[in-house]
């Protein structure tokens, strides 16, 4: 692999032991994946924040790296934590968990990272431009950056993204190279797509069929997915099929700019979403928690919930997870008042997949997120109902899932 003089110097330790270790990681990954050189990155999204996921091992490593002087050299944002960093006591998070979680975010803060604690960095100021090279982790954010923004990133893991932030470089392979961004699977989606849950179900189904190929969607005339729909589609596909990039004809930027379709692409037809709904939806009636905001909710989604609630009192807990900056925007538009007035709440900073839900006596959840459903089942072993946002709000009002 060719390294610049500056990169060689960092590898020898001229920026200190922490930066040296970071460069060792970036270079080793380049070797492992056959990169010829490194590429400068303009931003980084770091996963590996929730204490429930990284555990004591992760906390100790991060604290020590921060103490050794690890500092980021490019704008770097952070994935969600396992709790709201401010309102954890009100939400009943056990103190031992909370204190460890706060140590994790402190270590990241010491490294110079913005404590954005969101899986939607692109909604809170980290929004790379078309063709920009970045190093992001968090599968749904990676999918959004590549597909919706047209930036270029591989699916980084937590430590490799952090190493990229400290060195300002990542290995140039995979999706950093234009030839690997061609679609080899055409999805003719003739099904109706009316809600975010529909886009989730479609993504879930397609993710199971991609087999490492970049999919290219052709949607029905008149279906114009916006940012929230694309976010739901990409997140579900990343969960079920590790899809890091997709194109939508006439919608996503690369598909509009150049011919992204490989000549040997296979074509599949999806005429109904029934299979997706059947695999995602469970059968539990009583629901402990209704969850909207996986990936983190946009202002438009929060407003949709407030409108559907229309002042009714809730029988089940309703939590909307969102980035803190989005929560603040919701507060200033009085959406928080409208939702809290009904008994719901907006939880900032958190992802429920890594949250201590069992300690909060939550064993059944309803959500409109395909990704959330997938991981709540596999990571937390919970009962999950999957349906539209409207169905989820009705469930929160009734206290049970209505068929």
């Amino acid at each position: 692999m060719r390294l610049t003089r500056e990169e060689e110097a960092a590898l020898r330790g001229n920026r200190g032991p922490a930066a040296r270790k970071a460069m060792e990681i970036v270079v080793a990954l380049g070797e492992v994946y056959g990169a010829e050189e490194l590429v400068p990155v303009s931003s980084v999204q770091v996963a590996g924040v929730s204490y429930g996921n990284i555990g004591q091992a992760g906390l100790e490593f991060l604290s020590e790296w921060a103490q050794q002087g690890a500092r980021v050299v490019v704008p770097t944002t952070l994935n969600p934590a396992g709790m709201d960093l401010e309102a954890w006591q009100e939400l009943g998070i056990p103190e031992a968990y909370a204190l460890s979680q706060l140590e994790v975010t402190e270590a990241y803060r010491d490294m110079g990272i913005t404590i954005s604690c969101s899986c939607t960095p692109y909604l809170v100021g980290n929004s790379p431009a078309l063709h920009e090279h970045v190093a992001w982790s968090e599968s749904s954010a990676v999918s959004y950056a590549n597909s919706v923004l047209g930036a270029r990133t591989n699916r980084e893991g937590g430590p490799s993204a952090l190493a990229a932030a400290i060195t300002g470089r990542t290995a140039k392979y995979g999706l950093h190279l234009e030839q690997n961004r061609q679609a080899r699977l055409v999805v003719e989606a003739a099904c109706a797509l009316r809600s975010l849950a529909d886009f989730s179900a479609l993504g879930y189904m397609v993710g199971q069929r991609t087999a490492d190929r970049v999919p290219y969607f052709r949607l029905n005339a008149g279906v114009r997915p916006g940012p929230d729909e694309l976010k739901a589609l990409g997140a579900a596909m990343a969960a079920s099929g590790a899809v890091a990039l997709y194109h939508v004809q006439g919608v996503t930027p690369e598909a509009r700019l150049r011919d992204v379709l490989a000549t040997d692409a296979e074509v599949i037809n999806i005429e109904s979403l029934e299979e997706g709904y059947e695999s995602l939806d469970g059968s539990q009636r009583d629901i402990d928690l209704v969850w909207i905001g996986c990936p983190h909710a946009s202002l438009a989604e929060i407003e949709h919930v407030a409108d559907e609630l229309a002042g009714r009192r809730l029988k089940a807990r309703l939590w909307i997870t969102a980035a803190r900056d989005v929560l603040n925007a919701a507060k200033s538009r009085r959406l928080t008042d409208r939702i809290e007035g009904c008994g719901g709440r907006i939880v900032a900073d958190a992802c429920l997949i890594g949250a201590p839900l069992r300690e909060l006596n939550i064993t059944s959840v309803a959500t409109n997120s395909g990704k959330g459903t997938f991981y709540l089942r596999s990571h937390q072993g919970l009962q999950v109902r999957f349906g539209s946002l409207v169905q989820c709000v009705e469930c929160a009002v009734a206290g049970r899932w209505l068929a």
Partner: protein, 133 residues
């Protein structure tokens, strides 16, 4: 016998080989408090990896596995060295942050559990004590 590989984390290590022909997932698959492989049904289930030259095709599972290797090191239970057929990000990053010498691109069928193995840069030296020449 000498084998030539590719240094993922350059260094020197010597120890008794512990060989798995199945991939190893460190997060959830290895207990950082005991250093034992705990994945149910794994070929090496119940085996301690501390101080051994751990030989396996490649890593698998969660990227948090890198941190498990680091914690094994802190607890004095890390393998002395790692040899992979084809490394991937989880174990490669783990070896670097835990300072475990690691080589890949090695034909691991040439190494058996119990062999004395030395890792030195890009070279692996294998000595088999119990077989007749």
């Amino acid at each position: 016998m000498k084998l030539q590989g590719r240094a993922i984390r350059r260094g020197y290590a010597k120890g008794e080989a512990l060989v798995s022909h199945q991939p190893i997932g460190f997060f959830g698959g290895v207990d950082p408090q005991t250093g034992m492989i705990v994945e149910a049904g794994h070929q090496l289930e119940g085996q301690p990896i501390g101080g051994r030259i751990l030989v396996f095709p490649q890593g698998k599972g969660s990227t948090v596995g890198s941190y498990t290797l680091y914690q094994l090191r802190k607890n004095g239970l890390a393998p002395a060295g790692i040899i992979n057929e084809q490394s991937e990000a989880i174990v490669a990053v783990g070896a670097i942050i835990a300072d475990i010498p690691m080589i890949d691109s090695i034909d691991i069928s040439q190494i058996a559990t119990g062999d004395t193995v030395t890792i030195d840069g890009t070279l692996v030296q294998v000595n088999r004590v119990n077989t007749q020449a």
